[in-house]
Symmetry: C2
């Protein structure tokens, strides 16, 4: 074994990565630590980033990397300029899109319709200072979606990119997308992304939510939150901004994001009508969707399944409707006593999304907000409608995933994924948790991490993270990190349980490092090397074997492991040989002083 | 609904608790907050503690309470005096035990055999300054165990106590114990405990490990860790102390503990032979077991399943033997090339344990220490031996539970509990986690909390907590709390999934408080009220509806919930009435200004 590669693209195994020295590792300069590297595809502009961990024993492990160019010291990033448009040539060379003038940016896009902004009206032509760009869309109403290409049998550079990332063949990627079992969210106006795929056949993905609030955060802070979340492994980011500067914030986030960005256009539409749900119209909503599609939003949550007839189904719930989008649409339906305009105009919406390759995330506006409401009639009525809408979206070649709950006790989780897969023709499921109990506010990353791991094992393709502040307040930087790490654990535990090829090699590499007391390797292989190192240094004294009673495997000498190692080394792999060698071993052990070096806990 | 009681003993529902005002609640003096209360049984000295949460709407919720007299402001506790011996009269009045002189305490019991103690030799007669006591044991070798009583059809006060705690009939408790499906660990020399039960028919329990280390902690700190762990919900505590003052530390912990205390006698036995495993003998081990039984240890981990023949089965493992007890016994077996003395003397050990009612926790010395080693031949070979030993223990009327892993990926967890239940005749399973991935050191409370919740749902009776410091170092106070809270979440999520009677009422009470924006009630009902309150105050400004974008349900007004509430209130429970009322509702909504107060996240 010369190269222990978890999730290893073939060309890394062939020894051809373009490797770049990293300045981010505390071990930079030494031969160990981790470094940003790239795997080249069939064309020079197709370079898949990986995190290469160099071990003290000379081996290396290659890990999936979501952190974008920010962790590459050879790339000079500048948030005012934005990331370079990696996919631009791929999109242009397909020849099926066109640039156009685009919808003019209006003051109300930034939520300043009715109030005088402090410091005078913004210069809306300078929403973002980076390279000038015009929006792009499919020519003549063509569907320029990865789904359309996949169905036609085309393997796009995006598909090849994710195939290398996932260590599968490009044809598998194409097939999964063509069948609607996976989505590759990649708006033609977001050429900056490093393509990724969401589907049960692939690694489980994690979404992190960010979003400005007029009171507490600035545009720069939102960009920083996005890079921070992807630094720890967020595969996509949803910008749930409301209030002021909503358009401008999104522009900055998009231009700087290496991962797909999702939004809920309904939030901005509601801002445009000053928060009065009944004043929402299809036209205002449609205008907002186009505005966001032109900016490059990769997937949009659309609560088109909240139909008028379902609102009464929530009447006897313990916690009613807890989805923001769901409540807005329920309020609209009640105010007008009419069917949802999203449901009524769904086909028209499909046409718009197809022209930019915006992926649907069909929202679960009636998801349960408490254990008591899990798997009820309202929830599943909406799910059946989402199944119907999914089939319509496919007709229009629009990529689609389905959102799921919420608060669900463990014994009711499997029904959610099984029903969703059946009703929605195996479209990717994208769930929030679910939270497996309501009693632990301040720990809902954990209550939900439990449910998330389980539902991902059973087939959920992407998990929306929950932070410790859920139900209580705004997450800070630490909360975002804790949420992402918790969900990466859930996702990886699911990858293991699903038997994802290569997933266990990561665990094996870390366990080998443990068995051999290679502490630096353990840290560098850890999901969170910084905290692992900090905890170790904080509490493990110089002579760990004497002190650590709660730590299962630490310490410089571990008799039981040594015994196992010795037996293995001296007697080969055969059980019989080992048994024959045991009496001999017994003598040697006595000769060596019979000293037992203790493991450090039981 | 006048009294929403989660896990409510019948007599609380009857309104007969002896309630005591609490000084520990920040709301003391007001009518809300939480208070220590007691439920009386059939005799005046049988009082079951509960945590009574008083809500702002006048209702109250009764929760299981493990915190002991320390949270009762009417009880004057003093760690130098110890807790009052609640069970003493019950034990004496059974008339089947006798006091006796007991084994003399020796210097080596405190690990000071070969080194001169600083400050001179301790006064071993004054190991603990509290009331003088003599050890007690069964007369004439009688088994004075709850199992023996249960089999005879006797319902002891201990059984009645746990029946009230669990809200089941005493006969159910007796039956489960008699069948060996539950244990009630209660050494006759530990009269201070508030009895509790461990079995799949009952609430899932959580154990917290403590233990001194010569370098970092004092006796007082261990007592403090024990009260801290039980304060947050630990149902039992294992004292894994090694090194100096091991006997004295245990004495202080026992005399002050309201929960059963578990130990691994092998650790102390090894100290007595200066850490040389090959010098261990049955006599030294037996002496240590008697020493600890006389002190009052309620359950003991015994690694009698690590047989000589199984050691080679670990040869090809990725991480060998990771259990401390397992490695000690493997080293002994190899050194002598003989069968384990624990296995050979198991029947004699049963006789000793039966005389004190010490419960077996049959240790899994060959548990997997990595994902790669899960469910292997070594692990299951030992499990089969534990099944054999369990049947022997039952012959001697010794209560028995079985320990389980370890590191197990999600898809291999269920096999563990299913096999254990089958092989061990449904004896209670007591598992460490399992950790569902190896890649997240510093977050192993979470990697293992996922596995713990699942295996508890499927029938594990008690979970041994894991702290964030697992694999890295010694847990501090915060780590102990985080470990306990994480495992209480796992246990409660499992109670919900198992449909434990009353479990969901706790969630319902908290969700009702959320729906009605009763913030103080949410905090007081939370598993960790302090952190929930702190997070809320830290980030939620005065006008929460405007700011909290990541918080699903906070804020003073929540339109969708209000709509649900209005519909429910105005149109009763009938769906038809509600549908008929919708047009009317629509008009009212418009008349009220159509204002949508937003929920705070989606």
């Amino acid at each position: 074994m010369t190269n222990k590669d978890a999730r290893t693209p073939a060309s890394v195994q062939d020894g051809t990565p373009l490797e770049t020295a990293s300045a981010t590792s505390p071990e930079a300069g030494k031969s160990i630590g981790w470094h940003k590297a790239y795997v080249e595809g069939t064309r020079p502009d197709l370079r898949v980033p990986v995190r290469q961990v160099h071990l003290t024993n000379g081996q290396s492990v290659t890990l999936y990397d979501t952190s974008g160019p920010y962790t590459d010291p050879h790339v000079d990033t500048d948030v005012r300029r934005g990331l370079s448009p990696l996919r631009e040539n791929w999109i242009i060379s397909r020849g099926d899109t066109e640039e156009y003038a685009g919808r003019p940016v209006r003051p109300e896009d930034d939520g300043i319709k009715h109030t005088a902004p402090r410091g005078g009206l913004r210069n809306l032509d300078a929403v973002f200072p980076g390279r000038p760009r015009q929006p792009r869309r499919g020519r003549d109403g063509q569907a320029v979606t990865q789904l359309a290409y996949a169905r036609r049998g085309e393997i796009t550079p995006e598909m090849e990119f994710v195939a290398l990332r996932e260590n599968v063949s490009p044809e598998v990627v194409r097939e999964e997308i063509a069948a609607g079992r996976a989505v590759l969210p990649a708006n033609v106006n977001h050429p900056e992304i490093e393509p990724m795929i969401i589907g049960k056949r692939f690694l489980v993905k994690v979404n992190a939510n960010i979003g400005n609030s007029a009171v507490t955060s600035s545009i720069e802070e939102e960009v920083e939150k996005m890079t921070w979340a992807t630094r720890w492994g967020a595969d996509t980011v949803m910008d749930l901004s409301t209030g002021r500067n909503i358009h401008t914030t999104r522009e900055w986030v998009l231009r700087n994001s290496p991962v797909p960005i999702g939004t809920v256009p309904l939030y901005q539409a509601l801002e445009k009508v000053d928060g009065r749900a009944e004043e929402l119209t299809w036209e205002i909503y449609k205008d907002t969707v186009i505005e966001q599609a032109e900016q490059g939003v990769d997937y949009m949550t659309v609560h088109a399944g909240v139909r008028l007839a379902y609102v009464p189904l929530t009447a006897n719930r313990k916690t009613g409707i807890v989805s923001r989008g769901g409540s807005i649409m329920a309020a609209w339906c009640l105010a007008h006593h009419k069917e949802s305009f999203l449901y009524e105009h769904f086909e028209e919406l499909c046409e718009i999304l197809a022209a930019y390759d915006v992926t649907y995330s069909l929202g679960d506006g009636l998801r349960p907000g408490s254990i008591a409401d899990a798997n009820d009639e309202a929830q599943f009525a909406e799910l059946r409608t989402l199944g119907e809408l999914n089939r319509i979206a496919r007709r229009f070649d629009v990529q689609t995933m389905i959102e799921g709950p919420g608060h669900v006790p463990m014994h009711k989780i499997k029904e959610n994924i099984d029903l969703q897969q059946e009703i929605c023709d195996e479209a990717p499921f994208y769930t929030l948790g679910p939270l497996t109990t309501d009693v632990a506010p301040a720990y809902d990353h954990i209550t939900s991490g439990i449910g998330a791991a389980m539902i991902a094992w059973w087939g959920t393709a992407m998990l929306c993270y929950v932070t410790p502040k859920e139900h209580l307040g705004l997450p800070n930087r630490d909360d975002v990190k804790t949420g992402v790490i918790t969900y990466k654990i859930a996702a990886h535990a699911a990858d293991l349980a699903k038997g994802h090829p290569g997933a266990q090699e990561w665990d094996d590499a870390l366990s080998d490092a443990r068995f051999e007391f290679r502490w630096e390797d353990q840290f560098n292989l850890a999901l969170d090397p910084d905290t692992a190192r900090e905890f170790h240094d904080e509490t493990l004294p110089a002579e760990p074997a004497k002190t650590a009673h709660f730590c299962s495997m630490c310490g410089p000498k571990f008799c039981s492991m040594k015994i196992s190692q010795d037996i293995r080394r001296e007697h080969g792999g055969s059980r019989t040989e080992i048994e024959e060698g045991m009496a001999q071993k017994s003598k040697e052990f006595a000769a060596a002083g019979n000293r037992v070096y203790l493991p450090l806990a039981d």
